[in-house]
């Protein structure tokens, strides 16, 4: 069994290489079922993290987890299952996607300058009682994984990531 290649920090200058046009537009253009997931990445002081990159991976609405190529060059039609979006100067990100099929969550990989390795978490759009991962999270921290529907019926959800301190998001490992 070979040893894995260790991770290294993403550094400050990935912004010239990793983000791409349409990276947060996972939903096909004009799709009536599209939802918006948005929020802030915050540090232990509650300060916004302007240089973060969030990657999302999720099943298609029909539950398929096969994905589709075309994530880096959106054609406006294909649902690929993968999205990549950077935070702006105020730490805010926004993703337009379709609700995942079969599971109530989106898988999230978070790259942040100043961390030795990336972080995994999940953004749940609903909170079923029989979800095995949610059931394994202490009740007082479960809310950190739940995206909150925004008032007003705009099909928008708020999902903040707190890297440290009170309300620290539950992060995942394999």
């Amino acid at each position: 069994m070979a040893s894995g290649t260790p991770p290294q920090t993403v550094g400050p200058y990935f912004g010239a290489a990793l983000p791409y046009p349409g990276g947060g537009d996972l939903a096909p253009a004009g799709h009536p079922e599209a939802v918006t997931l948005h929020g802030y990445v915050l540090d232990g002081d509650g300060a916004p993290v302007p240089e973060a990159l969030l990657e999302f991976w999720q099943p298609a609405p029909d539950g398929s987890r096969a994905g589709a190529p075309g994530s880096l060059r959106r054609d406006g039609v294909t649902f690929t299952g993968f999205a990549r979006v950077a935070t702006r100067g105020d730490g805010h990100y926004a993703l337009r996607t379709l609700p995942p099929g079969g599971v109530p969550y989106l898988a999230v990989c978070l790259h942040v300058r100043g961390l030795q390795r990336h972080l995994f978490t999940r953004a749940y759009l609903a909170s079923p009682a029989d979800d095995p991962l949610l059931a394994a999270v202490p009740e007082e921290r479960r809310g950190t994984l739940l995206a909150v529907p925004e008032p007003g019926g705009h099909r928008a959800y708020r999902f903040d990531v707190r890297l440290r301190g009170p309300g620290e998001t539950v992060f995942l490992t394999v």
């Binding site: 040893s3 260790p6 550094g11 991976w57 690929t80 961390l115 991962l133 890297l163 490992t173």
Partner: protein, 228 residues
């Protein structure tokens, strides 16, 4: 004068403390149906063949030593990771990034942007042609310089195999003094981040060759067995 080699090595990189989680991560093993066991796919729609040659992205020749960097991407069992995206970004030969936030007073190269991508082939192989990057100071006032390095982003067959890392060059005296390179789980792991000069990868009269293989970790092999 103290010889540099006599200096104690720096402590491993701790990053920015206020961004570092304090709670232990929760294992995904509690969820055998985890979406993270699968991963995104990429294809010819995402990448042009020319994206892998960083020396051909502008009309003129970039300054510096042309190199090829190639290797295989496998999982821990040695199985090739096929058709997956490998992204590369780096400083130019003078140690400066083509990024608006990089204020290092080294020249920008109008013929070098320093970003490329490719897909692994059926054997898990990738190959880039680029310029050997220069060293640069860790921050504007620092006497500490980062060794020459290439940033790599890789995908595997599972989202949980995601890897962002850096490749270093063999024999670089700055490596022993680099806190970021030393922030690996154990000293031996640093060897896995150092490419090897490989004359077989030279392009005669044009570029020097370096081989660097990547092993994508996790999910645990026993866990993924039969899961897809």
């Amino acid at each position: 004068m103290t010889p540099l080699d006599a200096l104690p090595p720096p402590p491993p990189y701790q990053g920015i403390p206020q961004r570092r989680p304090q709670q232990p991560p929760l294992s995904l093993l509690c969820d055998p149906d985890a979406v993270e066991l699968t991963g995104p796919v990429f294809g010819p729609a995402d990448v042009d063949p020319g994206d892998a040659d960083l020396t051909r992205r502008h009309p003129g020749e970039p300054i510096g030593e042309r190199i090829t960097v190639a290797g295989r991407v496998t999982d821990r069992r040695g199985r090739p990771v096929r058709g997956q995206l490998v992204e590369l970004w780096q400083a130019n030969a003078a140690g400066r990034y083509a990024h608006p936030d990089d204020r290092h007073p080294a020249p920008l190269d109008p013929n070098f942007t320093g970003a490329g991508r490719c897909l692994t082939d059926g054997e898990g192989r990738y190959r880039f042609v680029t310029i050997r990057p220069g060293a640069y100071p860790l921050d504007g006032r620092s006497a500490v310089w980062r060794p020459a390095h290439l940033h790599f982003s890789l995908f595997g067959t599972a989202f949980a195999q995601r890897l962002v890392t850096q490749m270093y060059f063999p024999g670089d005296p700055l490596l022993a003094h680099d806190s970021i390179a030393r922030a690996v789980p154990e000293p031996a792991a640093l060897d896995r981040l150092i490419g090897a000069y490989d004359p077989a990868l030279n392009v005669p009269g044009h570029a020097l060759g370096y081989r660097w293989d990547v092993v994508l970790d996790g999910p645990a092999a026993t866990w993924t067995e039969g899961s897809r």
